[in-house]
């Protein structure tokens, strides 16, 4: 160990003091004892059984040396696959794609009554004097929409998706995944209409299928979806369009009549109605 400089006789520096530490050495006999203890420990280490996970640690350490190159290769491979996937939409897998689908009015799905017509302003009636007979018209109107095309069929089931297809007759503007979903839904509409209905009603389907389109169309689709959820209720509400006057039940107490009048004057009373019932020529509404 070379000394960095010689010590001036009358001056003591910190380095000189620290040099004293170098002189703190064990006596020569210490090393024989040191060696004996070392031999004992070496033998003990050889005899000692290693735990089963020790091998795992060794393997991990060996892999650990190459972790950076491995990670780089993984990232490159992932990037390559992603880029390839999104630049070649024609080669994407489509489940049972069968080309354009033509639906006929005889399809069972067309017979389901669905109301997409705007609901009229609330008629002032807690008990109306006319029977609800209009729903048949509503059914016909919606059946026409359903039978228009395969995209219209899908659009009937999922309102916002229908809008997407109507606005993109040429689907080249859609993302590859949207095209795949559209093709699969169209096929499913022909093959399994009931299944498609069930899927469309399942919670969060739209959000999972096309998040971007879902967010864009949620606002418009909700009122319609609410009407579609209960066809009978929609039919009854639609029948209120032609109601002329609110005729209170003569036997009803005065405070009940006032409450009903107040409810019916509010916007969106139909949403707050918990129950609608048609019986004979009477329509009962429970708030």
């Amino acid at each position: 160990m070379p000394d960095r400089r010689s010590i001036p006789p009358a001056r003591v520096t910190l380095e000189d003091l620290l040099r004293l530490k170098r002189a703190e050495r064990p006596p020569p006999e210490f090393w024989s004892e040191f060696e004996r203890q070392l031999r004992e420990k070496q033998l003990a280490a050889l005899v000692e059984r290693k735990s089963w996970w020790h091998e795992l640690v060794v393997i991990y350490q060996r892999i650990g040396r190459a972790r950076l190159p491995l990670a780089a290769v993984a990232v490159l491979a992932l990037t390559f696959v992603s880029v390839r996937y999104y630049t070649q939409p024609g080669e994407m897998p489509v489940i049972a794609e069968r080309g354009p689908v033509r639906l006929t009015p005889a399809l069972p799905v067309a017979a389901q009554p669905v109301s997409t017509a705007p609901i009229a302003a609330p008629a002032p009636a807690a008990v109306v004097s006319q029977p609800a007979e209009q729903p048949s018209t509503v059914v016909e109107k919606n059946a026409a929409v359903v039978t228009a095309s395969s995209s219209g069929e899908v659009g009937r089931v999922i309102p916002w998706l229908g809008d997407v297809f109507e606005n993109h007759a040429d689907t080249s503007g859609l993302t590859p995944s949207a095209r795949t979903i559209a093709a699969n839904l169209a096929t499913a509409a022909v093959m399994e209409p009931e299944l498609l209905d069930a899927v469309a009603r399942s919670r969060g389907f739209e959000e999972r299928a096309m998040p971007a389109a879902y967010q864009r169309h949620t606002a418009e689709a909700l009122p319609t979806a609410a009407a579609v959820a209960d066809p009978r209720r929609a039919r009854l509400l639609a029948s209120l369009e032609s109601i002329g006057a609110y005729v209170p039940e003569p036997s009803a107490p005065e405070h009940a009549k006032r409450s009903v009048t107040r409810y019916l004057a509010q916007d969106g009373w139909d949403r707050s109605a918990s129950r609608l019932e048609a019986e004979g020529n009477r329509l009962s509404i429970r708030f």
Binding site: M1, P2, D3, R4, S6, I7, P9, A10, R11, V12, T13, L14, E15, D16, L17, L18, R19, L20, K21, R22, A23, E24, R25, P26, P27, F30, W31, F34, E35, Q37, L38, K41, Q42, A45, Q61, L68, P69, A72
Partner: protein, 215 residues
């Protein structure tokens, strides 16, 4: 891949540039011995033990200031080195590698026994240069001189133990073991700049603590 290769090359070139010819020669000789051990010549490892035991013991002793712990940790260092010798690829010198094992073992020991502070010192072996320093500090002779040296030794160790582990390690490796900044940086796994700044700060603290002995 190209950038990884560049980093490795930089490391190698940096090491080659900073290592002194003696150190390089020593590293090459050690590497030959290590290759023999890796090939199954276990007795060759004894040569490495004999060569480095004093230096390793000195580092550990100056870090923990306890001769029994130092002996124990130095032995553990050689056992660990022997057990891992097959993983040594010669990317650094054996000397740096075994120092790193010793330093890590000592750090673990010091962290585990932070509250247990029991010092036991080796005797200062009086040589020409040591005697010069002592004579510059005192004109006492005989038993008085011995008492003075003992007191000085205690003060020195006390001042070193007041430093944080990292600062103490830098001072030990640079001032006591005589290693270079780049070697210390490699052993401690930090930059040369960090080594320099730690050394500067540690010396300031020691200077303030040992002011009464400095002339």
């Amino acid at each position: 891949m190209i950038s990884l290769l560049t980093v490795d090359l930089t490391k190698v070139i940096g090491k080659t540039l900073t290592a002194t010819p003696e150190r390089r020669q020593e590293a090459d000789a050690d590497w030959e011995v290590v290759k023999k051990v890796q090939a199954g010549d276990v007795a060759a490892f004894d040569r490495l033990i004999v060569k480095y035991r004093e230096r390793i013991y000195s580092v550990v002793y100056n870090l923990c200031a306890n001769r029994e712990d130092a002996a124990d940790l130095a032995q553990c260092t050689f056992i660990k080195a022997f057990q891992s010798i097959n993983r040594f690829q010669g990317q650094s010198s054996f000397f740096t590698w075994v120092y790193r094992i010793a330093v890590n073992a000592t750090l673990t020991h010091l962290r585990k026994n932070r509250l247990r502070t029991f010092f036991s010192f080796e005797r200062i072996t009086e040589e020409d240069k040591t005697s010069e320093v002592i004579e510059a500090l005192t004109d006492k002779t005989g038993a008085d001189r011995e008492a003075f040296v003992k007191e000085l030794q205690e003060k020195l160790n006390e001042a070193l133990q007041k430093l944080s582990i990292n600062h103490r390690m830098v001072v030990t490796l640079f001032e006591i073991e005589g290693l270079g900044h780049s070697e210390i940086a490699e052993i401690m796994g930090c930059s040369v700049g960090t080594v320099r700044s730690r050394l500067h700060y540690a010396k300031q603290l020691l200077q303030a603590d040992l002011q009464s002995y400095l002339r």
